[in-house]
């Protein structure tokens, strides 16, 4: 198998080669580093590449494996981190000019857990500045290109994470998701992206956008790979008091099961209004495929869910501006125009708006919990539109024109407000060859069922086996 072919394999596939010692971690890491060197100049997925450090870690993994010690399915697997995950001794820019030279003196819990699982860190990935935007457009480091069409947005804010995994520049990556920033780029770049339950994965050492809505999650080429990463990440962390002491199941085993007899809901309120026709067709076809696998699909009313958008706006704007206030007072000119303007907006959200939003959140969550008492998961689009052109400001669907950011976050941000786990899985391509994402939302802390449904669908998805065109 050629080095190029190695970089296209899933973590499960390449892990099998490593375990059989048919491939060494050094060989695999070198294949990725060489591809990054050749390709990333025009893809702009990475902000920092750690060639020397990655090869040293791969050598250590190789020696451990040779001694017969396996750390599990991530041992020797080259991954990368969104550049807001703190890494000891390695700069962490947050995609900003303000932190362009900042070198943390500690690792984020998630970085440490992946290292302990034996993953090899290739580098730090591009992103929307300070994670405050769903397009991935970055004025400081350039905008990561969508591997399916370089003229299209990768989605954000975890833009580099999606671009890198989809383009074969790492085997898996971490993103963060405050209004959809894992799931949106995963959908737009044809990947699997998981936002775990709020409290399932530690955010300690991850630069916040909005404390009460931020989640860390994996972005991978397959559902099984996402399960491997979640296994390493999940669990209580004393450094993040919001993490819950809830047992962590064996996700790799959980994804194997059947879905026959599972009850699934289609929430038509909000999520199926004003959709690109190709997105609507692909998501409804996915629901029929799941019925074909034995699931029972029914429509579910969620009339209160449309309040989640304004609530999310008030919470993100207030919390983000609070975190950024010291920089706004002294270094405002160093922000990109779009992020600075959004942070300025946060000053004018009243305390009453914020508290009302946090109250509304409880009501919206209760309605979602009630719906998820009737069914085990909900099916909805991840984004109402496929990847827009890089320079798009507005998008028109069915004669309705709206800001591109509002389009991208409409179906994802309600799930940050409720905190439920949500998985985006590729469910088709448009006629123009752009990926479409199916979103599967489950009960709190039941990522196992969400992943199981995702894996069952993945096996019959029309997107199965489809990869970005090599020339893009």
């Amino acid at each position: 198998m050629s080095p190029e072919e190695l970089t296209q394999l899933s973590i499960a596939e390449v892990g099998e080669l490593l375990r059989r010692r048919a491939l060494s971690p050094v060989e695999l890491t070198r294949a990725y580093l060489d591809r990054i060197q050749r390709e990333d100049g025009h893809r702009l997925a990475y902000i920092t590449v750690l060639r020397k450090e990655a090869l040293a870690a791969a050598t250590a993994a190789e020696q451990e494996i040779a001694r017969g010690r396996s750390r599990g399915p991530l041992h020797g697997i080259p991954i990368a981190l969104k550049d807001l995950v703190m890494t000891r001794g390695i700069r962490t820019t947050c995609g900003s000019r303000i932190l362009k030279d900042w070198v943390p003196d500690a690792d984020a819990t998630v970085a440490r857990r992946l290292a302990e699982a034996g993953a090899i860190l290739l580098g730090k990935l591009n992103m929307h500045e300070f994670a405050y935007g769903p397009t991935g457009v970055n004025p400081h480091y350039g905008t990561s290109r969508n591997p399916w069409d370089r003229g299209r947005m990768p989605g954000g804010s975890s833009s580099g994470s999606a671009a890198a995994v989809a383009a074969g520049l790492c085997a898996g990556a971490l993103g963060t998701d405050t209004g959809g920033s894992v799931r949106i780029p995963a959908a737009l770049c044809g990947l699997v992206g998981l936002k775990p339950t709020y409290g399932r994965v530690s955010r300690a050492g991850v630069i916040p956008l909005a404390w009460s809505l931020d989640h860390v999650g994996p972005m991978t080429r397959t559902v099984t790979d996402a399960a491997f990463l979640l296994q390493a990440l999940a669990g209580r962390d004393p450094a993040d008091p919001s993490t819950a002491d809830v047992p962590v199941p064996d996700y790799a085993r959980a994804v194997q099961g059947e879905i026959r007899g599972l009850r699934l809901g289609l929430p038509k309120d909000l999520f199926f209004e004003r959709l690109d026709p190709e997105v609507r067709a692909a998501v409804l076809a996915a629901a029929r495929s799941l019925e074909g696998l034995g699931a029972l699909v029914e429509e579910i009313p969620l009339p209160k869910i449309r309040h989640a958008g304004p609530a999310s706006f008030a919470i993100i704007a207030s919390e983000a501006t609070t975190y950024h206030e010291p920089y706004l007072k002294t270094r405002a000119a160093e922000y990109g125009d779009d992020v600075r303007a959004r942070l300025m907006t946060g000053q004018f959200i009243l305390a009453g708006h914020y508290l009302k939003a946090q109250r509304a959140r409880q009501v919206i969550r209760a309605e979602m919990d009630l719906a998820l008492g009737r069914v085990q998961a909900l099916l909805l689009p991840t984004t109402p539109i496929p990847a827009p052109p890089l320079d798009a400001r507005e998008v028109t669907v069915d004669g309705f024109t709206e800001d591109v950011r509002a389009w991208l976050i409409r179906c994802t941000r309600p799930i940050n407000v409720t905190g439920h786990p949500a998985l985006s899985v590729p469910c088709g391509l448009t006629a123009a060859g752009l990926p479409i994402g199916l979103q599967i939302v489950g009960r709190h802390f039941d990522e196992a069922t969400v992943l199981r449904i995702g894996r069952a669908f993945e096996a019959v998805s029309p997107a199965r086996g489809r990869r970005p065109p090599p020339e893009a």
Partner: protein, 67 residues
């Protein structure tokens, strides 16, 4: 709904938040606020009077602010 005055936003920002602002940013802020105020007002439809607000427990460890 009356348009939001940029001069008012500028005064609030400078007097209450003590954040120096570019009036160009405030035009965008005014437009973003205008787009959301109706939705924020509609949160009252949810009858929130007896609802305990969700709160941030404690923020996790985060990077220090760089001067």
């Amino acid at each position: 709904m009356a348009p939001i005055s940029i001069h008012l936003l500028q005064a609030l920002s400078q007097e209450l938040s003590q954040i120096p602002v570019d009036p160009g940013d405030l035009a965008i802020a005014a437009s973003q606020l205008a787009a959301q105020l109706e939705g924020l007002a509609r949160l009252d439809d949810l009858d929130l009077s007896s609802v305990e607000p969700a709160t941030v427990l404690l923020p996790p460890m985060e990077g220090p602010h760089v001067p």
